[in-house]
Amino acid sequence: MARLALDDVTKEYRDGEMSVVAVEDVSLDVADGEFLVLVGPSGCGKSTTLRMIAGLETITDGEITLDDRSINDVPAQERDIAMVFQSYALYPHKTVRGNMSFGLEESTELSDSDIAETVEETAGMMGIEDLLNRKPGELSGGQQQRVALGRAIVRDPDLFLMDEPLSNLDAKLRAEMRTELQHLQEQLGVTSVYVTHDQTEAMTMGDQIAVLNEGTLQQTGTPLECYHQPNNLFVAGFIGEPSMNFFDGSLEENALVTESLAYSLSPDLRRDIEAGTDLVLGIRPEDVRIDEPRTDGQRFAAEVIVVEPMGNENVIHLRFDDAMAGDEFIVTTEGVPTVSAGDRVDVEFSEAVVHLFDGDSGVAIKNRTLSFSGTPDEVIP
């Protein structure tokens, strides 16, 4: 059990005159027993951050503390951290039992019989007791994944690190393991940091998610916070599948004018924005209303390009009349699709659900208004 904190952690790779900053001034706080997901596109520095926490990379600047004790100079061997690797990194010459007991043998003073007992117990919990005498090469991908998890859990570490542990599994197994991992983490109550590029994993698993891009932290918050109240354009675009629709434009008089539409902004909204400012209008695919009775929003005519029925929802690709080819936006609807390719439809953007971002900095100017049943405070702290 431990509380992990990163304070302005920076990692710079230097090669002679060249220097590449992989992680810049990242500060994170993971409470005891919390599940933090580090998410971002590949090359955003999330794995480097995790490896710095593990002690596999040195820190150029900043401080990492575990229970208020700085671990900057503590070697990986003495950090009492367990890690699950993307490639699993099981020792190929050892049996599952050997793999699981290795860490206990090396990092604890437990007797052989105690180790054996702990291993059996954990194997039972992970449902891999039948595999104990097999070698990793004889196991399927899913089984190897379980063993890799078991190897980390058996150590009963202060901190649990996972580097894209599910990315080598097929989609169905991945969804299963996602639930199981979450359940397991709750059961064990170990502080965990989980790295993934998959925003679905981030959304579903994390108590907190930290979105990284190009080495800098974009936002930390609960999954729903990041989804509904993104700090900036990057988070808005990264979180959510299909991703948010963006329309670049600028403020002219009382409307946001883009190539294909003019969206009038209420006086409240445009009060603080200078005329001529570059703006980006964002709207989530599920918030666009197609051919539905008009509410308070503004309507625009568009053409349906493609309809992808998924069963539970339909992904509809649309294009405004005077937009350039390829400049499509996406709308999702529930149930049976009511439109088909080639149809001309009216789409409605309600002001309550649109997001506005500064065109230059990408910072969010206005996020959607929330209207959940129940108190929003429960969902968004």
Partner: protein
Amino acid sequence: MSQSTPDTNIDVASVVEDVNLRRIGHYTLIIFFLGFFLLPLVTGIMTALKTNEAIARTVPFMPPLGGGFTLANLEYAFSQLSHAFINSLLMAIPATIINVLLASMAAFGLTMVKWRGQLVILILFLIGIFVPYQAVLVPLARFWNNTFPLADMLSPLFAGIPLLQSYHADLVPLIITHVAYGIPICMILFRSYYQSLPNSLVEAAKIDGASITKIYRRIILPISKPMFGVVFIYQFTQIYNEFLFSFTLVSSASSPEAPVTLIIPAIGTSTSGIDFGIRMSAAFLAALPTIILYVAFAEQFAKGLETESG
């Protein structure tokens, strides 16, 4: 050209003809090379088994018939070499083991552990490969004879060890020389293997709390088994067959510590000419240990690969 695909119409006869011609070509080539490589060997073994008379009268690669067959050459060669065999093995086995172990450790340290200045050390190793034997012979001899006469220091000690004689101490400088000379190339062989191993193995072991030495001993060493097989065969053959160092460091072919390679050139020659039967017997016997080793280790090697990928 010879592959038929189901969706094209190919004249069956032409395909058959094509395949046959290719096959004939293949087999002719195989038989040619088989003969090319095996004939000298067969000739050598046949000559070893023939009396001098039979050697003079029969075709070299034909087996000895009737009275032409003899084991006397082999017996004589063996009696001449038996002593040298012990010397050779006493030198080559420890030298190879030390060499391979040190090379593997060096490769581990230079590939899987990060530390400052390792590039310089790696370059030194690389340079080590290209130092020609001939260039170091004289300094080497002077070093072991005058500067640091290790053999003289050790010989009283060796006299006290059962089964060893004081003259075996003369092999120690030879062993050290071979180890020093062999490490760079063996290190490179191990290095390429270690580079192919995922780095996450070492990282996982680190996080599991293992020290660098433990990681080597408990993870990397066992995983390197197949590579040990390969490097061991290679290096043993090198050291066992080596002539120049033995020639320089051992006083003469008649010294009691002379290894096989030093004696072979002198065996079977006399003022009355060359005795081919004895020479061939000696050559055949001298080659046996490396052949036996190869066969023995090849199996271990295959097994190693099996567990590795299995």
